[in-house]
């Protein structure tokens, strides 16, 4: 796959060492190229990339608020259409909080109306910008500052919201999951999303060094472990047709993923067995 050298998300931003979100957006923009407009929800990526008077964005970029990236993108898309500039790629980017929680209504509206745009959720599984609070995308068992492990709690007690399926239920032409640790798979999906006429949704799993609690040098490794253990899966749903885009040869036990992160370190063997059981069930459903 072609990997352009040009960086459309410039270095020098304020992201943490080992930040997974910035790897994700860098790859996405390489796949989309210069003829692209980005819309950000409030969140890590927005805050670290545009401290006035600096910006890391080498393409036009707009941010308005936390919960409305879908609606802002709708306005941008229609304004481009009105100006005869329909060939411009429109990509809205939100974290899991801005996508699965506070921005869900606005996103649902944008998808349902059929705007020709890509929505990319960079999912680090909690509100990382404000310091690791639980979102509906936080996985079962993770300790966050608002779902902390304690004497009477093993951390988050609900499974992660299945956002890709919610998007698929909108009947949009393209839904995909991806991981920053599988760049070729991810970029292909972004490219495909840009070529499809209508709304496309990509849910990108991205490890977060501060929120998940691991060494910044291990970001890519963690992303791989998530997929190799079946904790996260790579697939696409194109015009309603489900297809796995990567199948681990043999699934590793989930403990290999859980044991190297601070957010899961409180879990008992029993808790971990419960998570393994849940993952096995999901894997069976997906055909992994």
């Amino acid at each position: 796959m072609e990997l352009p050298e040009e960086e459309l998300f410039a270095p020098g931003h304020r992201g943490c060492a080992g930040c997974g979100a910035t790897i994700g957006i860098r790859l996405a923009l390489k796949a989309l190229g210069k003829n692209t407009i980005a819309i950000s929800a409030t969140g890590c990526l927005e805050v670290i990339s545009t401290p006035y008077p600096e910006t890391a964005w080498e393409i036009p970029w707009i941010h308005v608020a936390f919960e409305n990236a879908g609606a802002v993108a709708s306005g941008v898309e229609r304004a481009m259409k009105a100006q005869g500039m329909e060939d411009v790629n429109i990509i809205a980017v939100g974290g899991d909080g801005g996508t699965t929680d506070i921005g869900l209504q606005s996103l649902s509206g944008a998808m349902e109306r059929g705007h020709n745009l890509i929505y990319l959720c960079y999912d680090n599984e909690a509100y990382m910008n404000t310091g690791i609070q639980r979102s509906s995308s936080t996985p079962f068992g993770a300790s966050t500052t608002t779902s902390p492990a304690g004497k009477k709690s093993f951390g988050e007690d609900k499974p992660k919201k299945n956002m890709p399926l919610i998007m698929a239920a909108h009947g949009i032409p393209y839904v995909a999951t991806a991981s920053i640790s599988y760049p070729e798979d991810f970029m292909k999906k972004v490219k495909k999303a840009s070529e499809i006429d209508g709304p496309a949704y990509i849910h990108l799993n991205q490890p977060c060094t501060t929120g998940w609690g691991y060494s910044p040098s291990k970001t890519i490794e963690l992303g791989r472990l998530a997929v190799e253990t079946g904790f996260w899966s790579l697939y696409e749903i194109e015009n309603g047709e489900f297809k796995l885009t990567y199948k681990p040869q043999s699934r590793k036990p989930v403990t290999e993923f859980l044991n190297v992160q601070k957010r899961f370190k409180h879990l008992t063997d029993g808790d971990k067995a419960k998570i393994q059981e849940y993952i096995d069930q999901q894997a069976a459903e997906l055909g992994i």
Binding site: I39, Y52, W61, H63, G75, V76, Q83
Partner: protein, 381 residues
């Protein structure tokens, strides 16, 4: 030129059609609803060449308006009451991002208790957001003000969103003969929108809506304040120019029989028509009474008001809103800026009728004040 007997909502829609926005994201809400319907029909019939976005909420209506305006096209939206309250956060963002969005607000009370009828609490609650706010008296003024709003908002010394406020039901659902200006005349008056700053253009990438830390934030806010002050002259100039072309002149305020008045009533919106006849009645009885209609509430036209009230001993300020605990918004602004005996009358909240008896009470209590703030038309228990 054609005269149509139409509601203010239709007058607004006619004006929008004439002003030719490219993107119109709207969400229906009583009593704004027919604006959203007329515009949908114009687009469906090909009479308005715009992208109509059927958003899922008012929050998304204003958010999509920002997206479209940020992408460099003329935008219109409209709302009311709870819808405007839902927009609140993004109303501030629109002004901060300096986008010349024009929005009509069908003035309606806000919950709780839920109430669909008229007062002006909804737009007053947005007064500090940095938007220009113009209050209309009738269908003609609603139509004319929408057209002017684009000229004002898009002026390079201003670049601020503009809210055109029309009283729910009293204006939105009441038909009046209204002159529809000729399309080519409006074309040359409003002109094509060529944004000074083209933000979202891949050939000239810029970042819009960035983070500003304490080093930069205050200057950004100061510039909005400056722009709002700049708009005082622009609103006057545009109103004058509109008068030269269309025969109806508008200003920041509209004083009526204030020159020799001893006391003056001050108000905004549709109630001013009624107040003019009240003034006439009392003038016939030999009373030296006048009316000062405030058309531009933000920016607040302090100098124009001072000039209109020079020689006036006392004023009765009629507010269809209440800043609970301290009286009406207009009253408090006048108190803050003018050295004058001012008395406040809270009227018509949630559509309570304002009767001839109420008008007499307002006049009487302006002349012979009992207390600073009086609620008019409250039921005795």
């Amino acid at each position: 030129m054609v005269v149509k007997v139409i509601t203010s909502n239709q007058a607004v829609a006619e004006a929008v059609k004439l002003s030719k926005p490219k993107v119109v994201p709207v969400y229906p809400i009583t009593p704004q609803t027919t604006i959203s319907e007329y515009l949908a029909q114009y687009v469906a019939d090909g009479d308005l060449d715009a992208e109509y976005i059927r958003v899922e909420s008012e929050h998304s209506a204003i958010s999509a308006s920002i997206g479209a305006s940020g992408a460099g096209v003329r935008v219109f939206t409209a709302t009311s009451s709870q819808g405007l309250m839902l927009m609140h956060e993004i109303v501030y963002a629109a002004a901060g991002m300096r986008l010349p969005i024009v929005m009509a607000d069908a003035n309606r009370a806000i919950s709780s208790p839920i109430n669909i009828w008229n007062d002006q609490q909804d737009s007053i609650a947005q007064r500090d957001a940095g938007w220009i706010q113009l209050y209309c008296e009738n269908a003609q003024e609603s139509l004319d003000t929408i057209i002017q709003a684009y000229r004002i908002a898009e002026n390079e010394d201003v670049l601020l969103p503009t809210m055109v406020c029309l009283d729910g039901f009293y204006l939105t659902h009441t038909v009046e003969p209204t002159e529809i200006p000729e399309s080519d005349k409006v074309d040359s008056f409003v002109g094509e929108y060529v944004p000074k700053y083209s933000f979202l253009n891949p050939n000239e990438p810029k970042s819009l809506g960035t983070l500003a830390d304490p080093e930069y934030y205050m200057e950004a806010r100061y510039e909005i304040d400056e722009a709002l002050n700049n708009s005082l002259k622009v609103i006057s100039d545009v109103g004058k120019e509109f008068g030269e072309i269309f025969g109806r002149e508008y200003g920041l305020i509209d004083p009526y029989k204030c020159e020799d008045a001893e006391y003056v009533l001050i108000a905004m919106g549709s109630i001013c028509t009624t107040l003019r006849s009240v003034v006439n009645e009392y003038r016939e009885k030999g009373e030296k009474i006048g009316l000062l209609k405030i058309r531009a509430y933000r920016p607040f036209p302090v100098e124009a008001i001072k000039e209109a009230l020079s020689g006036v001993k006392r004023v009765g300020i009629i507010d269809k809103n209440i800043s609970l605990g301290v009286g009406g918004a207009l009253y408090n602004d006048i108190l803050a800026k003018l050295d004058i005996n001012a008395y406040n009358f809270i009227v018509g909240l949630g559509g309570r009728d304002i009767t001839p008896k109420d008008m007499d009470e307002i006049v009487e209590k302006t002349k012979n004040p009992v207390k600073d703030i009086t609620w008019i038309g409250l039921k005795e228990d």
